[in-house]
Symmetry: C2
Subunit: 413 residues, 2 copies
Amino acid sequence: MSRYERIEMLAIGDELLDGRVTDTNTVCLGRALTGLGLTLAQRTTVADDIEAIVRAARAAIARKAGLVVVSGGLGPTMDDITAEAFAAVAGVDLVRDEEQVRAIEERLRSRGRAVADNQLKQADRPEGSEVISNPRGTAPGFSLVHDGCRFVALPGVPHEFEYLLRTTVIAELGADGPQIVEATLYTFGLVEGDVDALLQHVRRKHADVRFGFRAKFPEIHVSFKVEASRQTELEAAVVAARKELGAHVYADVPISMAEVVLNLLRNEGATLAVAESCTGGLVADNLTDVAGSSDVFCAGVVSYANTAKEKLLGVAAETLATVGAVSENTVMQMANGVREQAGTTYGLSTSGIAGPGGGTADKPVGTIWIGAVGPSLAVARKLSLPFDRRGNKVVTAYAVLDLLRRALLTNAT
Amino acid sequence: MSRYERIEMLAIGDELLDGRVTDTNTVCLGRALTGLGLTLAQRTTVADDIEAIVRAARAAIARKAGLVVVSGGLGPTMDDITAEAFAAVAGVDLVRDEEQVRAIEERLRSRGRAVADNQLKQADRPEGSEVISNPRGTAPGFSLVHDGCRFVALPGVPHEFEYLLRTTVIAELGADGPQIVEATLYTFGLVEGDVDALLQHVRRKHADVRFGFRAKFPEIHVSFKVEASRQTELEAAVVAARKELGAHVYADVPISMAEVVLNLLRNEGATLAVAESCTGGLVADNLTDVAGSSDVFCAGVVSYANTAKEKLLGVAAETLATVGAVSENTVMQMANGVREQAGTTYGLSTSGIAGPGGGTADKPVGTIWIGAVGPSLAVARKLSLPFDRRGNKVVTAYAVLDLLRRALLTNAT
């Protein structure tokens, strides 16, 4: 599938070993290779130390690696010694690339910064290597072939690494290998095991399609990949999976639940207000994270205290005294109250016990009511959640948006 | 300082190389070793593959590693082959630990789950190794000395790994080496470079204290570490640093800005309500993330639309028409309005342009007003922020809580 039998990662930097920084560049490389049907065989992480880098490079050659992606150690500081180390690996001198010197000078001047000598050091690379220009930063990378192994050294700054990786290594591997097409379904309301179980049959039937699951709490993403020549099979698999997963699929593009709901409301020219107790502002926060949400989302009320439920939302004192704040009756009054106050088409509400305190035998921690009201809508649902305080807030915020989404979909059909 | 000249990490698992999972166990180990004044020399990551594990273990021995912390591959599935691989490294058989068999059976039964054969496989370890019991999960670890190198294999599940690491390896290394005492100051309102510059003099004066910086947007944490025998010097350095950083230090224990503000309010028996426009519920979300916040935080209003500002908070239509929603006048009316509506001691407010759209020549994206009112308090501040939409929301939420915190501190003195 590729001209490289074995692909490895070599991550360089003290900060990766002393607990300061998590190595996300390897995750980026691993995901990109997986997307091409390729495998990352090993990662080695060493400190900013010439001897350690040289030894790690030689060990990769000894393991018959064909391609080693190297990250880090290309910047302007004394610690940045990757070019020097690979000159030592290949037994060559360092050369200063005049074109890169000019590029670094230009980049710094355009930002009103002085050109210090240590900045120009970034234009050094092992003699005989190819330079990799970096439009996202001052440090260029290089590609060096030695003893049958190609080392591609890229800057460690994650967004520069990712950009250069995709435009060089991954672009070349993708052109060499089969073209892959992919699709993703975004689901809410099922755990990973349930999604897996529901799709057993579909996976067996579409054995050529590679299925993948990714949990991004509280979402589960299901991905489908296939060689481009089998696009029809991908589409059939996606249709079959959608049928199994039903309304749990809330999107097939990477947008949040809040954005899906905002789009549905915008399409019908509707507006929204939310009344939150246990989610404490998180539903509004989710909605307002979406740029342009202000034409649909008008107002929210966080009625944390019972007096706020009465005063700001008009919940009856008697309701709170008899059935309590965590009840169907209360969430319906909250949703109606905020809808009236804000004069919107729809109203949403949440009230429950997020924990860790506040639970009773009748209403243990995780007992939560959510409600949604609109022109021809009045629905409430009870949740019993097992998460910690933050987890219960996050899932409840998703669930109340999902309640409205499902209602809007039913209306539309 | 330690009996090990060289310490390495060997992380095992396909999921670490195919982009599914970020290796946080190495960060955990690196941080713990740094805390002891020790260094992690290298990390190697390999797939669930016996040959690859054996080769990596032998390479660590060849590099004269004295201690290798191994993570992953100890679970019940077919992929979990760490014990088998290390039996091969040492040239010994696998033995089943009867005590661990009973522990696994008990743990599963107590959770109402069946004891499948593959679960018992977790009690297997290389002959001659020491078992490491795991009170946090079913998979025990083991410690094996071979060719002068000690391999400590721990389960890869992060919370189990961290617990067993601290109770075994780190506890032993800590007892061997000098005792370290540490302190941390939590700051808001400065960038890392500013904090560094402010502390130059203090660092020079207290050269025996190790200073560290950690950016956890929008917080900067400053840590101080020293051998226990020099505790007085640590205390002197912290006092000196506090003096330089002033009110930017909001805590010396790991709590959020919201929790600090809630504690200050609780101490004076005060209550709080917030009126949010550009933060869209995030201030309330931050406050309600703190367990027990409900005795202080009563209510929030997210007045995203101008009509909501008028109707829910009583902001004058004339103010909105003349100076606009993003103005000192508006935020003061918002803060007063929510305070009156909710009947609280203090009121906070935010209004601004979070972006990416909505900016004008007069009020570009990032122009934000925040306000705070109370019994003897009426203050507003203008911010000009350079972040993306989410970043602007996050910093504004911190800034408005910080505005109240500083006012409460001034009142108290």
